[in-house]
Symmetry: C2
Subunit: 147 residues, 2 copies
Amino acid sequence: MATTTAAQKRAQARAEYDAFLAQCPSRKLLDQIANKWVILVLAALRSDGSHQFGADCAGEPRSMRYSELSRLLAGVSQKMLTQTLRSLERDGLITRTVVPTVPVTVTYELTDLGLSLHQSIRGLKAWAEMHMDDVLANRATYDNHVA
Amino acid sequence: MATTTAAQKRAQARAEYDAFLAQCPSRKLLDQIANKWVILVLAALRSDGSHQFGADCAGEPRSMRYSELSRLLAGVSQKMLTQTLRSLERDGLITRTVVPTVPVTVTYELTDLGLSLHQSIRGLKAWAEMHMDDVLANRATYDNHVA
DNA sequence: GGTAGTAGGCACCTAGAGGTGCGTAACGCA
DNA sequence: TGCGTTACGCACCTCTAGGTGCCTACTACC
């Protein structure tokens, strides 16, 4: 049939939209920071070593060793830490430095780019700390109303 | 043995850290906006109907119908659109209004809370548009160097 | 000699996000 | 009479992010 059905047109539009999304810079960034550990690593590298995710404001950028990060982000598996660090290094957000001591020592450090990203993310963090209580309250009343 | 091994201590720390993460407001927010369609819906409800994800700056908040959203976000499945809208409604970020016309009409609209969140997110978007080229360049040279 | 640390690589496995497809009930349109 | 629309619900299926466990060499401590 020469007449394109509505369904066909929709499929077409969907394909185009997916392609658009795939090369959208905002989407790419989002995919990256949505990874469970990227933000934690960023925050850790910027922190003073405190365990609090929320306490990353005071310290200045700091270089950290692999094992140090592993202890600080106590929940991370070795695999995921390595993977996350590699990914961040690839994107130029952190630098990796190998020091050939007796047991090799590797330190990671935020680049300026990584630092600026972290600044932007802190905007979101601020929103979360200000409004998340409201959100949770809404969620509770909604659930109550339904149940 | 009464002596807790290092491995046990690590497991303990991991459990605590996971518990901490689970109730961290920033993390909760992140989990929400990491969902593939939430930000798109937010942007759509704020936009003037343009197809460009990046062109959501001009318009003012606007109410939209289910089918309208479905067409605008051409890639979304009906299931995911419904799910996303429910989730946003639950969190008080959008409102759902049912108009009992002949085929029921449902409109969605941003709340002030949703609007403020979108503002914060636009900070990230700005970063992406400014720096994503650098990131991609870094990525390319990194891949080149390795391969 | 047994246990711990340093910085990972490799392979397997699971849980959950997200996609596909089908059905609804009432109506319009050709 | 048969397809299209409106706004979903439900069941099944896939794909992959992330977790777990086991391996490396070399060293240091007890």
